[in-house]
């Protein structure tokens, strides 16, 4: 009797994820000798490489069992649909990850205040909030975030290079608060 679609699909997804973890584990196990030290005349448990090996064992063995169990559940072999489900939307995630990293890097140039006031409306526009109302809301929320964390809680963030071009009084104020 055929299993229902959702079980087959879930088994296929589990198989791909578990198989990927097994693959990663094997690569890391192959590096155990070179990436950890094994000392002479030391108990096994006291070896620097013992705990990484234990971690890889706990990671790899259940993943291997899961991949075998899931593969058996799939019955009709590997479905082509499943990897698509696993990576669906992943390319957009990568795009948002790039947005985040750009935000991180521009802070060092223009400072936290300016970077946030640019980042929030720009990303809002990118995800479809095109009206003036949304842009103004994004700018205001950005301002509140900066005032709360940087000015209020004095969270440590890098100063912008452009602050160096400001007159001394304003520069000190900007460095202290924004």
């Amino acid at each position: 009797m055929d299993q229902p679609d959702n079980i087959r699909s879930s088994a296929a997804i589990n198989f791909f994820c578990a198989a990927f973890i097994v693959l990663v584990t094997l690569v890391l196990v192959s590096q155990l000798g070179s990436q950890t030290r094994w000392l002479k005349r030391a108990d096994l448990v006291m070896q620097p490489g013992f705990f990484p090996a234990l971690g890889l064992l706990v990671m790899g063995v259940p993943a291997l069992v899961l991949s075998v169990v899931s593969f058996r559940q799939m019955r009709s072999g590997i479905e082509l649909e499943s990897p698509r489900i696993v990576v669906a939307g992943f390319h957009r995630c990568c795009e948002f990850a790039v947005w985040f990293l750009v935000y991180v890097y521009i802070i060092r140039w223009v400072g936290y205040l300016m970077a946030t006031l640019l980042f929030m409306p720009a990303l809002s526009l990118r995800v479809g909030f095109r009206g003036v109302r949304w842009i103004v809301t994004a700018v205001l929320i950005g301002l509140v975030i900066v005032l709360l964390f940087r000015t209020g809680l004095q969270v440590r963030l890098p100063d912008g290079y452009i602050y160096g071009y400001l007159p001394p009084e304003i520069r000190n104020f900007m460095i202290r608060n924004f």
């Binding site: 009797m1 879930s10 589990n14 994820c17 578990a18 973890i21 590096q31 990436q35 950890t36 030290r37 000392l39 448990v45 006291m46 620097p48 490489g49 705990f51 990484p52 971690g55 890889l56 706990v58 990671m59 790899g60 259940p62 993943a63 069992v65 899961l66 169990v69 696993v86 669906a88 939307g89 992943f90 957009r92 995630c93 990568c94 948002f96 990850a97 947005w99 985040f100 990293l101 935000y103 991180v104 802070i107 946030t116 929030m120 990303l123 995800v127 479809g128 909030f129 949304w134 994004a138 929320i141 950005g142 975030i145 964390f149 809680l153 004095q154 969270v155 440590r156 963030l157 890098p158």
Partner: protein, 492 residues
């Protein structure tokens, strides 16, 4: 008194009210908020920081009931069971009563768990000096085993992810022999992969990725009218037995490392249904079901602080994050904390107690305003969460590699969320893995054979619990397998 200070009072208010708002927004949740705020709290005094974080943790569960009841979408994942009965009550024209029942049940759960914290923590802390390295090793091991076993239907995935978490902690320079482990020649990896970028990546950034891609379907919210106190009197008069039993379950489940809100509410809900005179109403708008679910999940946060304060062992991801607040301020949870910082401990108790009163008062007055929060589009929330995530990651040590690591964990978290695998085992693997390695090495001086690990009363008891938990799990898996075979064999 510490709590009479203005900064503690502000933390109380922001934690309580902010937590309710965060909980009321579907898709954000306390884990995201706490992960973002965690580095900011390092600059605050421990009591102020912990009050803020615990306020958010506890209050978010109250707020999570609002969308669960009104739009059938839980505000936080642990409010999922609230939708079973809360939404049907709202749909038949009593949304105000359903909300009021949920708030009152949550209040009872919250207050009882704070009382349990006050009375049980010193008792556990008094036993704590008898805990040696091997006992703490076994307790941490029990936490890992329970984290794996409580993910029923996903135990293999949870075990693999625990292993992943354990492995992540070994990256960098190990503290005993000062040798590098899995740094691949990268100098920035020698400091290791810190907990905060992992937490922020897995909880906040991955959630932002999900929110940024959501479709933002319009939400129909029923009009909320009537007395806000109706459910309050109902719980205290007619449903107090259900609320008390479920809170008790929540407290027990909160104390046991690795169990948490999900099992607490499922057990409580099941028990309430069994004991009810009208079990057929459960899932169709039963006030008993709603009260059982809400009082159980709200009893967990304060109870989860018991093993953390008494032994320094976090039971779940959120208390694991809070452990770092103690560490940053050089406060060591355990019996010495009660001797050296009694004012801090008492202050924490009082703050936790007050949070529940502030939240209940705020909810009874401000619910109509809070309902507007549910309407905020998810994609816009994604923009806000991603912006806030930067504060959390970058402010720890202004490190670009931390941001890269957080993005890496964010992508991993996104995939895990997409395939419905749990995130918590990675974090607990990281936190408990570190404890296990340290205690394993220090206990080796007194260990000659493997049996020496369990030759102390405490470690032996915990070892027996581990074996029993594993045996019960294997037995139930075999029973389920046999039942499935019996069901499928006639058809085959």
């Amino acid at each position: 008194m510490l709590i009479a200070r203005w900064d503690v009072a502000i933390a109380l208010l922001i934690g309580a009210i902010g937590g309710v708002i965060i909980g009321a927004i579907p898709g954000v949740g306390p884990a995201v908020a706490i992960a973002i705020l965690l580095p900011a709290t390092y600059k605050l005094e421990p009591l102020v920081g912990l009050t803020l974080l615990l306020g958010i943790y506890g209050a978010a569960l109250y707020g999570g009931a609002i969308p669960a009841i009104l739009i059938n979408t839980p505000g936080t994942p642990v409010n999922a069971l609230t939708t079973y009965d809360g939404h049907p009550i709202a749909r038949r024209g009593e949304p105000r009563r359903a909300l009021s029942l949920a708030y009152s049940a949550s209040f009872i759960g919250g207050i009882l768990s704070v009382l349990a914290l006050i009375f049980l923590t010193p008792k556990l802390a008094a036993v704590a000096p008898y805990f040696g390295s091997r006992d703490i090793l076994m307790a941490a091991l029990l936490g890992l085993v329970l984290v794996i076993l409580t993910h029923r239907g996903q135990t293999l995935a949870a075990a693999a992810l625990v292993g992943m978490g354990v492995f992540i902690t070994v990256v960098g320079m190990e503290p005993f022999r000062l040798t590098d482990r899995f740094v691949f020649g990268l100098p920035w990896l020698r400091g290791g992969l810190a907990l905060i970028p992992a937490v922020l990546g897995l909880f906040a950034i991955s959630q932002a990725f999900i929110l940024l891609q959501s479709s933002d379907a319009p939400r129909q919210i029923p009009k909320v009218t009537g007395s806000p106190f109706a459910g309050l009197f109902e719980v205290f008069r007619r449903l107090k037995r259900v609320a008390l039993c479920s809170s008790g379950f929540g407290i027990i489940m909160g104390i046991i490392p690795g169990v948490g809100e999900f099992l607490a509410q499922f057990f409580s809900y099941g028990l309430a249904q069994k004991l009810s005179k009208t079990p057929e109403k459960f899932g169709k708008g039963s006030s008993e079901g709603l009260v059982a679910a809400e009082s159980a999940n709200n009893a967990v946060p304060a109870a989860a602080m018991i093993p953390l304060l008494a032994l320094g062992i976090p039971g779940e991801a959120l208390t694991a994050m809070m452990l770092s607040v103690f560490t940053v301020h050089n406060l060591i949870p355990g019996p010495k904390l009660f001797e050296t910082q009694p004012e801090f401990v008492v202050g924490l108790y009082v703050c936790l107690f007050l949070i529940n009163f502030i939240v209940l008062a705020f909810l009874l007055i401000a619910t109509p305003l809070l309902i507007r929060v549910i309407k905020v589009p998810e994609r816009f929330l994604g923009v806000v969460v991603l912006t806030l995530a930067l504060v959390g990651v970058y402010s720890i040590r202004n490190s670009l590699p931390d941001c890269w690591a957080a993005i890496g964990f964010g992508l991993l978290g996104y995939v895990l969320r997409r395939v419905n695998w749990p995130l918590v085992p990675i974090i607990l693997g990281m936190v408990l893995g570190e404890i296990i390695e340290a205690k394993l090495r220090t206990s080796m001086a007194r260990v000659e054979t493997p049996l020496d690990f369990v030759n102390r009363p405490v470690s032996a008891t915990i070892a027996v619990i581990i074996v029993l938990a594993l045996a019960v799990h294997v037995w139930s898996e075999i029973r389920n397998y046999r039942q499935r075979r019996t069901k499928t064999s006639p058809a085959a």
